[in-house]
């Protein structure tokens, strides 16, 4: 991608985010309902953790504050992802079946970008991101977490890699709809599985742990980076970059293949 192309997409993204914010104010009710339902869900998760820690002092070696930090951190890549890629759900659900996908094929921009751009800055993502930051800051404050310089420097890149992993696993699953006309069921199932990563992964059966690390690498979006930030344990951390790259290639490659065989139904 040349510099001028990159600049063009950057400018486009600014414009699209601008009109999306405009939309946000136009549909304030949608925004509030979305945010409220999300806060309730997170409150339940926090309550669950608190209840558990009333009975045990530590869980698989994690203290309550550490577990909260993990929960909060898991929301950061997820929220960042949701801010920009919510339209993938619509692709999985119906865009192929109804034929509406065609509009991303007739615009003079990358069709993947064109697809995502339809829901840039969708309201739900804000709630996730804000809650995540609040929990991370509170938990880190409560345990006097002291990050090293390297950890500070790696914080944002790790969140970004996590977001990319979320995005392109979704892209892969949503692209299956080019073959199956709708892949929403698969995507819902995988999304539920991904919520497991909000809790310490070492609690789970090794098979599930392996699945979440190497097949659907959600572990790299929360458990692995959070453990590194909390304990300095670099264990699988070095795998983050190759795993992210591979996920991106697989997700985007599947999308391109899907486009090649896209058949627009109806007249």
């Amino acid at each position: 991608m040349s510099v001028s192309t990159a600049r063009r997409y950057a400018r486009l993204t600014t414009v699209l985010c601008g009109v999306s914010l405009h939309r946000l104010t136009a549909y304030r009710m949608d925004f509030l309902i979305g945010a409220a339902s999300f806060v309730i869900r997170i409150a339940c998760q926090i309550a669950l953790i608190s209840v558990i820690f009333q009975y045990v002092p530590s869980l698989g070696g994690w203290t309550q504050q550490q577990a909260l930090f993990l929960l909060g951190f898991s929301l950061l890549p997820r929220g960042l992802d949701r801010l920009f890629t919510d339209q993938l759900w619509i692709l999985a659900w119906q865009l192929v079946r109804t034929g509406d996908f065609f509009r991303y094929m007739i615009r003079p921009v990358n069709p993947f970008y064109s697809l995502l751009s339809e829901r840039f800055l969708y309201p739900d993502g804000f709630g996730e991101l804000a809650t995540g930051i609040a929990i991370v800051v509170t938990a880190a404050g409560a345990m006097d977490l002291d990050l090293t310089l390297v950890q500070w420097l790696l914080f944002l890149p790790l969140v970004l890699c996590g977001a990319l992993i979320h995005t392109f696993i979704k892209a892969f699953l949503a692209s299956l709809s080019f073959w199956m006309t709708s892949s929403l069921n698969v995507m819902v199932a995988v999304n539920q599985l991904s919520e497991f990563t909000a809790y310490p992964l070492n609690l789970y059966h090794p098979v599930l742990r392996g699945l979440l690390t190497w097949v659907l690498p959600f572990a790299f979006t929360a458990y692995i980076p959070a453990r590194y930030l909390l304990t300095g344990d670099t264990g699988l951390l070095l795998w983050t970059l190759p795993v992210t790259a591979l996920t991106v290639l697989l997700g985007y490659g599947t999308f391109r293949l899907g486009i090649r065989r896209y058949e627009m139904p109806g007249s």
Partner: protein, 342 residues
């Protein structure tokens, strides 16, 4: 400007069997039917021409447009728009074409109309002056200003179609593909859309390819016609040639009430004008369709004047309607050829 060379598009359709057992069998079988939506079609449309793409439902019109706009790839053969392969060089081609599918929307569902256009301006990199000029044009001709801040999802079909057509023209495309562009529009707006398209064609030399079931769209916009039947081209030429190839004409007349009964009237025509088809039309009128090879207009009118107490006579324009009806009904391979009478 638009070229198709031996283009075919075949779809595989899994054979589905009825019932639970059938659907189970479908899941595990690899049997499918091959649907030839477009079959070895070749044509060429020069720049600046407004061509109607005519054919019955299922004749492959929409499929061809999807191939020409880069939405799908042909199974075999080649399509080119302005010299480029629309699927392989999609982005470049997208800059040069405008597309309207009357049944679908390409606008941002929950953005206000004007925001949609602001986004399109950036996506298509439309220069400020062109943008202002076109928006003024759309305001004047399509009353686009009235839609302003309404989100697309709250527009009526007619309002949405106006926005869709404007959106397809915003970037001064070299080629405009219109698939049922006036669906849901009232007569005044239909005319406004036709005028706008003709205006753009006259000013900028825009090539237009139109499919429509609305005869008014075809006659009001197009100067050429391309007739497809079952995936293959059966006629290409000017609109005039197409109309000349129609081998029947029609006259509709009204006679003084009570002078003869309808059945008698039909009998009289059958007796005096063999090979002519007389059909009762609305409000007591009778439509007479006669083969031009057998009868002249003078002969037919003479008989009518002679035998009926005429109160009104209508001679429709050369009969595109009959022609289209015959094409749509799926008449034998060459719907515009002469010789089978009426």
């Amino acid at each position: 400007m638009i070229v198709a060379e031996h283009v075919s598009k075949h779809f595989k359709r899994h054979r589905r069997e009825p019932g639970l057992r059938g659907s189970l069998r479908t899941m595990f079988s690899s049997q499918y039917d091959l649907v030839r939506a477009v079959d070895d079609v070749s044509f060429e449309v020069p720049a600046g021409v407004k061509i109607a793409y005519i054919g019955a439902n299922g004749a492959g019109k929409s499929t061809t447009i999807k191939l020409l706009t880069g939405i799908m790839r042909p199974t075999t053969g080649q399509v080119r728009v302005d010299g480029l392969d629309p699927h392989r060089r999609r982005v470049e081609v997208a800059h040069r074409i405008g597309v309207v599918f009357g049944q679908r929307s390409q606008l941002w569902w929950d953005l206000p109309v004007l925001d949609s256009f602001r986004v399109l301006r950036h996506i298509y990199e439309v220069p400020r002056a062109v943008y202002d000029r076109n928006m003024r044009l759309f305001r004047d001709r399509l009353d686009l200003g009235a839609l302003g801040n309404t989100p697309v999802r709250q527009l009526s079909l007619g309002q949405r179609m106006r926005a869709e057509i404007a959106a397809s023209l915003l970037h001064d495309p070299a080629v405009l593909f219109l698939d049922e562009p006036t669906i849901g529009l009232d007569l005044v707006l239909k005319q406004a859309v036709r005028d706008l398209i003709n205006h753009v064609n006259a000013e900028l030399g825009t090539t237009v390819m139109l499919t429509s079931h609305d005869i008014g769209d075809i006659t009001g916009i197009c100067d050429q016609a391309l007739v497809v039947d079952r995936g293959a081209i059966v006629h290409q030429g000017t609109m005039r040639e197409l109309l000349r190839s129609v081998d029947t004409r029609a006259v509709t007349f009204e006679y003084a009430a009570g002078s003869v009964t309808e059945a008698e009237a039909l009998q009289i025509i059958a007796a005096e004008l063999p090979d002519v088809r007389a059909i009762p039309a609305e409000s007591g009128r009778i439509r007479v369709e006669y083969p031009v090879e057998r009868w002249s207009a003078r002969q037919v009118i003479a008989v009518l004047l002679n035998r009926f107490d005429l109160t009104d006579v209508l001679v429709p324009d050369a009969d595109l309607e009959t022609l289209l009806r015959r094409i749509y009904a799926g008449s034998p391979a060459e719907p515009v050829s002469v010789g089978d009478g009426a």
